[in-house]
């Protein structure tokens, strides 16, 4: 394992206990940073708008990403399409701090994910279960997030993916060691990664929650379910008072076990993102990139 990969995993460790916010302009990035975001995800349109607009969605304009890099001192992440290794090369050339090979954008390759071991820049990927997570880690991802269902304001899928991950890890941890060879075959994952999960009873990299988080209580729910931090996308800048909501979500993640504090934080946040229920949506982004 390369030293750079270790350093990339360690950057994810530094983000733990924090909130990473989607932003589309330098101004939003500054609002996110001053509200307490530990990193921002630069993208052209937030997932709710991508969903509304339809069509092909791609990596953002490098100029927009640069503007955001210049606006804040916290790490800046950006998304490329699944399998689009040239978009990833551009992001690496721009010294982006984390590349999200993301199902939120239209996939560029319906078979292969990017060979992330060829990059020095860190990658994070979405996963619905242990199999997807270990495949992405095998390809070189140094951070994982649940896929959830982006741009919906509905947390149900993020919850499902986090619970599924917990169940899968519990099952692998309890297995006899000699059963792991077969299980690696069933899950279609590298054996050594599966063995590491068996021994350490956790993923080999940091795992955040993402997709549909809209309230401080949603964020604390994901933390109590075992997320090590939270991505908030459309939930902030599609709400009535982005700054106040962002700030409340940051505090709720830092004190995710303190119900009294979270109740207080949840007062008067203005209109929450309206959202759509999962059975009302036509496009399931989480189905992309297994």
């Amino acid at each position: 394992m390369s030293k750079q990969y270790e350093l990339n995993k360690e950057l994810a460790q530094m983000l733990k206990g924090g909130v990473i916010m989607d932003v589309t302009t330098p101004e939003q990035a500054r609002i996110a940073e001053s509200a307490g975001a530990c990193a921002v995800m630069a993208l052209e349109r937030i997932p709710a708008d991508i969903r509304a607009a339809g069509g092909v969605s791609r990596m953002s304009d490098p100029k927009m990403i640069r503007g955001i890099q210049e606006a804040v001192s916290i790490p800046v992440m950006a998304k490329c399409r699944i399998g689009h290794f040239v978009e990833a090369q551009l992001l690496e050339a721009m010294e982006i701090d984390y590349i999200d090979e993301s199902e939120v954008l239209s996939p560029a390759d319906d078979v292969y994910h990017i060979d992330k071991t060829r990059f020095r820049a860190p990658f994070l990927c979405g996963a619905r279960d242990l199999g997807e997570a270990l495949r992405r880690i095998g390809e070189g991802a140094s951070m994982i997030r649940t896929k959830g269902e982006p741009g919906t304001g509905d947390v149900v899928q993020a919850v499902r993916h986090m619970r599924r991950m917990n169940d899968d890890i519990a099952k692998i941890s309890a297995m006899r060691e000699d059963a792991l060879f077969h299980e690696a075959k069933v899950l279609e994952v590298p054996y050594d990664l599966l063995k590491s999960v068996h021994e350490k009873k956790r993923l080999p990299v940091v795992n955040f929650a993402a997709g549909g988080v809209a309230t401080p209580a949603d964020a604390a729910l994901m933390m109590q379910l075992g997320a090590e931090g939270v991505f908030v996308g459309s939930g902030i800048f599609k709400s009535g008072n982005p700054e106040k909501r962002a700030n409340a979500i940051v505090k709720a993640v830092a004190n995710y076990l303190d119900a009294a504090m979270i109740a207080h934080l949840s007062e008067d946040l203005g209109e929450a993102m309206v959202g759509i229920n999962e059975d009302e949506i036509e496009l399931l982004m989480a189905e992309r990139g297994k």
Binding site: G36, C38, I74
Partner: protein, 186 residues
């Protein structure tokens, strides 16, 4: 001996694990009420200094902790923690406790692609593995600040009275020398 670890954001669990392995008791600081507990030393972990500094203030832990540091409570501050302690930050941004008379440059090595690993001597400990992750370094150390280590001519570890500040992450390595040194002060 009981050590309080600031646990509002960042890599605080890694510090807790290492402190426990050395026989210390550990408690987490997440809100003002947590400060009512008794503790003999304070750890400021790596993470994002802007987030930690903001939460320290808004969760009402800032003034009481600053007072305790000024009164001599031993502190081990790593990476973001070093920024929280620094009296001056050369490339802008807010100052926080400002109890350590040094000038620090934040993100001194650039973005994540500038992150690196080094192994250099630390005074009183010996060769030490150092992970620099979007790390700061000390541009200028005040008169009575003891320089504990440098990498490529830049100061990366200092001690001033009760405060140890390092730009790297001893909590991520297998080497417990820095935490031992800190516990000896407590």
């Amino acid at each position: 001996m009981k050590i309080a670890v600031l646990a509002v954001q960042g890599a605080f669990l890694e510090h807790e694990k290492m402190l426990k392995s050395l026989g210390a008791e550990v408690m987490e600081l997440r809100k003002a009420e947590d400060l009512l507990g008794d503790f003999d030393g304070l750890v400021l972990p790596g993470g994002e200094s802007t987030v930690q500094g903001k939460l320290l203030r808004e969760l009402n832990m800032f003034d009481p902790l600053k007072r305790r540091i000024e009164e001599g409570m031993p502190v081990l501050a790593t990476c973001a923690g070093l920024i929280l302690l620094a009296e001056r930050i050369s490339n802008g941004g807010e100052r926080y406790f400002a109890t350590l008379p040094v000038t620090v440059r934040r993100n001194a090595y650039g973005r994540q692609l500038g992150s690196f690993f080094a192994e250099e001597a630390v005074k009183g400990i010996g060769r030490f593995p150092m992970e620099f992750i979007r790390a700061p370094y000390v541009e200028q150390a005040g008169e009575n600040v003891e320089v504990l280590g440098t990498v490529d001519g830049n100061i990366v570890a200092v001690r001033y009275q009760n405060q140890i500040g390092v730009a790297f992450h001893p909590e991520l390595t297998a080497h417990d020398g820095m935490h031992r040194k800190f516990l000896e002060m407590c």
